[in-house]
């Protein structure tokens, strides 16, 4: 039998890479569109309630993954440079060619202030808990990654929360080690 087919047949769910996929009709980028992009063509305008509830301060603190550089298309920077740059706090209106470059520089500067994201890593979670966690994150419009980041930040700042989380994590680690030992013994018995 072909090697790829053998690997496919052997594989179970836990051996596949875990992925995150947005299956919602409304894309995260549409929810985080800024005022500047409201003139760009979009199949679904961002709901007004969401738009108005996100202040400029909040927007600028959004992580890179939810507020991409495409938020202001280059064509718009070129076509409406003065409007965009004046909204960004520029007092002098530059020429169109200069304004496109200035727009790109401004985006790069803003990007540099946002958190950088590390390379992807695979994590394995308790099966039953994973489903609950995914549902929880979906219900709150967050990702597992940002939830984990937020938990860590909260734990760092709150000693009591930190102790509870660490105790729970130690308990879980003990269970995993025990399961590992049992699996090893089992495989030796089967040899």
């Amino acid at each position: 039998m072909n090697d790829m087919l053998k690997r496919i047949k052997r594989r179970n769910k836990n051996e596949r890479p875990s992925v995150e996929r947005n299956t919602s009709l409304v894309q995260p980028s549409e929810l985080t569109q800024t005022d500047e992009t409201s003139t760009s063509a979009s199949p679904l305008p961002a709901p007004a309630v969401v738009e108005s509830s996100i202040s400029e301060t909040t927007r600028s603190s959004l992580p890179e993954t939810t507020r991409s550089p495409e938020a202001i298309p280059p064509s718009e920077i070129t076509s409406q440079p003065n409007a965009i740059l004046s909204k960004r706090g520029s007092a002098n209106a530059p020429a169109p060619a200069q304004s496109a470059a200035a727009g790109a520089t401004a985006i790069e500067a803003e990007l540099a202030t946002l958190p950088q994201v590390s390379t992807r890593r695979n994590i394995r979670l308790e099966v039953e808990l994973e489903n609950r966690l995914l549902s929880f994150c979906q219900a709150n419009d967050i990702t597992v990654e940002t939830f984990l980041e937020a938990c860590f930040v909260e734990a760092e700042q709150n000693a009591r929360t930190r102790t509870e989380i660490v105790n729970e994590a130690k308990h879980r680690l003990k269970q995993r080690k025990q399961a590992g030992k049992l699996r090893r013994v089992l495989s030796q018995l089967k040899k």
């Binding site: 790829m4 496919i8 596949r16 890479p17 995150e20 996929r21 299956t23």
Partner: protein, 259 residues
């Protein structure tokens, strides 16, 4: 690996029905078959009894190359039949493909590691002129166009052929038209209805006599076979499978010529 696509730019033309029944026939004939659900409605995935978990790789991740091809291939309950599933998330491929310079080439490139493992790759397509559809046409060696035996169906055939020719003119496809399958061909007793007869005749004029395959008759048995994950033979109506028997023969001949 020959890549066959089931293509039509209209809904309800029999694309998914053709893929499911043809793939089962090919698998039963001993071919190792990979079916790819290229429609975000994911009916093919459902009818093959696969449930996609939110964190499991699908066609979207294959298209974006965020996983390896084999990470997104799943065994089905049918011997020799493997599936790359999809879900609503596949809609996100539109943006990716439109920002990739050569969107029409992406799927063919992503499926290429399956060469040597699978004999036939059979792709179900969405019923729109979308980026996903373009990429599916770009991946095709052979095109099957199921087409309802109605005026709407004939219109969809013309529109689908235009889309394929447009991509051929651009050099984004060199696929061969393997066949047009009249779908829901209506008969009352021993008589074919006037509409079915005239529309199928128009199909023959459009693409040529030899390209139009035996029709898939209007019958609840097809729906039953699909929803109950059974074969037409299991349901006691093996004669209804004749269009697929002919298609399998045509594919065998095609393979013999290629060899």
């Amino acid at each position: 690996m020959q890549t066959l696509i089931s293509l039509s730019l209209a809904g309800g033309q029999g694309k998914t029905t053709t893929v499911i029944l043809l793939s089962k026939h090919l698998a039963a004939a001993g071919y190792t078959v990979l079916v790819v659900d290229g429609d975000p409605q994911s009916n093919l995935t459902t009818f093959l009894g696969h449930e996609v978990a939110q964190n499991e790789p699908t066609l979207l991740e294959v298209m974006k190359a965020s996983v390896q091809l084999e990470d997104a291939i799943y065994e089905t309950d049918i011997a020799n039949l493997y599936l790359i599933p999809s879900d609503d998330g596949l809609d996100n491929a539109q943006e990716y493909l439109s920002t990739t310079g050569m969107g029409a080439m992406v799927l063919g490139k992503r499926l290429s590691p399956g060469q040597g493992t699978f004999d036939i790759c059979l792709i179900d397509s969405p019923p729109q002129r979308s980026q996903i559809c373009k990429s599916i046409i770009g991946a095709a060696d052979q095109i099957l166009i199921p087409c309802e035996a109605t005026v709407k169906g004939y219109g969809s055939l013309v529109r689908t052929l235009e889309a394929v020719n447009e991509l051929k003119d651009l050099g984004a496809s060199d696929a061969n038209l393997l066949g047009v399958i009249p779908f829901r061909d209506r008969w009352v007793g021993a008589n074919q209805t006037q509409e079915s007869r005239s529309v199928i005749e128009a199909m023959r004029e459009e693409v040529g006599e030899e390209i139009v395959l035996p029709s898939i008759r209007e019958s609840e048995k097809f729906k039953k076979a699909i929803s109950q994950q059974a074969t037409l033979a299991d349901l006691g109506v093996p004669d209804l499978a004749y269009p697929f028997d002919v298609l399998v023969e045509r594919i065998k001949q095609m393979e013999a010529v290629a060899a």
